[in-house]
Structures are given as structure tokens and as C-alpha cells.
Point group: C2
Chain length 228, copies 2
Amino acid sequence: MSMSELPEADSVSWPRTMAASNGATRERNEREILAAAERVFARHGYRGASVQAIAEAAGLPKSNVLYYMGSKRGLYVRLLERMMARWNALLDDISVEDDPADVLEAFIRSKMQLSRRHPEGSRLFAAEILGGAPFLQDYLSGELRDWVQARARIFEQWAERGLMDPVDPVWLIFLIWSATQHYADFEAQVLGITGKDELSDADVEEITTFLTRVILKGCGVRSREAEA
Amino acid sequence: MSMSELPEADSVSWPRTMAASNGATRERNEREILAAAERVFARHGYRGASVQAIAEAAGLPKSNVLYYMGSKRGLYVRLLERMMARWNALLDDISVEDDPADVLEAFIRSKMQLSRRHPEGSRLFAAEILGGAPFLQDYLSGELRDWVQARARIFEQWAERGLMDPVDPVWLIFLIWSATQHYADFEAQVLGITGKDELSDADVEEITTFLTRVILKGCGVRSREAEA
DNA sequence: AAACATCCTGACCGTTCGGTCAACAAATCA
DNA sequence: TGATTTGTTGACCGAACGGTCAGGATGTTT
């Protein structure tokens, strides 16, 4: 079992020709633009975001943004791909031999961390799905579906071995996704209701503990040692 | 305890003068426009939605939409108010004397029904929050906050009486909100992963049962009868 | 029929949209 | 240094934006 949270792979595709120049300027500007675009797209959705707004958020003229990114569409796709790469790195290999309690807790914890470390990316993803996933349909019914099904099979085997209740594993995965995603996507609601102006590390830890306890207990997860 | 799901209150504010005419035309057209607008706003967010697109979805010329609704902004606000009215009708009065199991199940069930009966409205609400709740901030930190706090206090009293585990009631409410909201907001993801092209009534019933069982068990909810 | 309010909509307004381009500045290579 | 790539940006394009308005269609009340 691993839950590598990659530093930022970013799979860059350089323009046609690239001299031996180190390209430091390009790297810095692209980073700035991507960060700004993630914020703007997350807040207003694909259609609602304007290149002008992204440029202003990045502190650059509009032309410069298009010089680096080519088009609004291309910029958006690139952000989605970056977010999917982060997502894919979550809990990428687990086995029936692992302890269900450990795996589920690691799952909840790492998903919570993803939402916390990349709230704008999480919201960008949410906005994309909310709008009917026009760019991600293939990913959802392909890669991600396989990912879910593989893990679902393991959960089922745990249930057969009596390590947890025989709950539908897909609904369980959705429960964990939704409960954790909520704190990024509905941040405005959470803050408004709790009266805080941001969630501290301690808050996040408390929520993580809460979710882990309720969900594990709710699924009747028993520790591996108790198997025999 | 009641969980009235109002037929559609809609709090209409008629234009200045209104002759004795029945206004059937107005009523029909407004209904069409509101339904179309809810779909378009939900899919593209406030900025991303265009009056032209709403008009086309309603099968009317753009001028006609503005004739009835005045402005894009006014139309959006009206939709939000309608959705908040539905939301407010949820579980509007519960008491410490109620059975926690009954209340929590009714809560999960009615929230799930809200997401199912008004998926576009749910997504509209989600898009609003996702974008930082520019129109709903006051509602969130006012009415809704009070709503949550009142229910939280009851949950706490139940915990004191040993009817459920002493979990943080606010996190619990968020858990229920997120888990149920998920099936409207992330419908595209749910369908893509399960391979279905829609969720049947039976699916929804199964999910509701799953959520009820896991969450109640996870919070250690005991039935009222066992109190003594 | 006359009078009146409601309903309908094409034409139009100023602004912003995504994107192109030419001209120029800066840096790197030869 | 001269040549070449890389970075920068204002001006501009056609299309779409939210919104206005005049003027005709429709319908209801006298």
C-alpha cells in the first residue's frame, strides 16, 4: 500500500523547438498562470472564466497568457490533467492482505489532504463534474471506473473474510469521496456556518479523525489481528 | 418532527399593476423560464450562463425572457430563493424527545429526496457555493447557521443521554449533507463509474439504506426504547 | 368597436469575449 | 558582434454578451 503524494509531476509538453536555454522565465510564468487559472476556473467554471480575468490574477497582459498557453481550452485541459495526476497517485496499490482499518484510514486521510493541499484544484474538478464532465467523461468511465472497480473487489473480499460488513463497496467509496471533497468544494458553506474564517490544521485533523471513526465503525471494520 | 416537502411555494412578486386577468400566460412562461434557467445556471454557473442560452432552452426569444424576469441577476436570485425555500422545509422541527434513529434516518432520507427531486436546483446551489457563495453568504452565516446550531444542540443532548456517541454534531450534519448532495452534484461521475445511464428509484433506495445504516451505526445511535 | 393592458420580438447599444498579429525588447548563440 | 531565438504587448478582429426600446400582436373589459 502506498499513498504517494507526488511533489508535482506536471508532464510538461514543450513547444516545438527548445534551444539549450534553461527556460527559467517560461517555467516561472507558466507556474504563475496555471495557479491563477486554477483559481479563476474553480470559481467561475470553464465558460464563466475569462482569459482576461486569469491574466489579471497572474499579473500579466492577456496576450502573454495566450502566448504561453495557446488557448483557453488548452489551458483548462492542462489543469484538469494536472489534477487527475494528483488524484491517480492516491492509494494506487492496495492488496487483500492489507489491514482494512489501515487502508480505509489512509484513504480518508490522503483524500482529505488532497482536498486541503489543492483546494482550487478540487473545486476545478468539482465544477467540471457539476457541468456534466464534458472534458472528463472518458476518464470517468475509463481509468477511474477501473480504479474504483479494482478497489471494490478488494473491499468485497474483506467482507467475505469477515473483516468488515458486507456493504456495497462502490457506495462506500462515494461516501468517502463526498465527505472529504466537501471541505474543499463547500468551503464557503463550512466557514459561514462554523463562523471561522479558515480551517486550521487542527480542525482538519479533528474532521479526519471524526470521519475515520464514523465510517470505520459504520462499516463494521475489524482489525486484522482479530481475523482468526 | 416534520419534513414537509412543500409542493412549490414560489413566493411570486407580481409586477406593479396587475389587472383582473388570470395571468395564465405569465404563469406558464415563467415556469418554463425558471426551469430552463435552473438547468443552464447549474451547468455553467452564474457567469457562464447566458440569457441567450436560457432563452433557447425555454424555447423563447431572449427579449421575452428579459421581459418576464427583468435581468439575469434577478432571475438567478429568484432561483436561489426558491431553492432555499425547499431547503428550509427540511426537518424543520425536531425535539430532544424524538428518537435519534428516526430523526437521522428521516434527515438522510429527506435530504436524499431533495437531491433527487430537484437535481438541477441542487447543482445550482452547489455552483453558487463553489464560486464562494457571493449571493448566499448572508444566508449561510445567518439563517442556515442558526438552523445547524439548533439541531447540533439536540444531537449533543442525545449524546449526553447516551443515545448516541459524543460525536461533533456539526461535522455529522456536514457528513450527511455531503453524502446525499453527492448524488446530485456528482451525478456525471456516479453514472460514469457505475456504467448506468441513470439512477433508478431502486438505486436511490439502496443508497439511502446504505447511508442510513453506515451513519447510524457509525455514530452509535441506539434506539430510544433502550434508554432506560 | 373602442380602449386598455399584456404579451411579444427584431433591431440595436456599448462592452467584453477568445484569439491573432505585427512590431519590438531581451536574451542566447554563433 | 551579428544572428537567432524567446519573451512581450497594444491594437485589432468578428462574435457573443446583458440589456433597452419601439412598435406591433393579442386579448380582455367596457
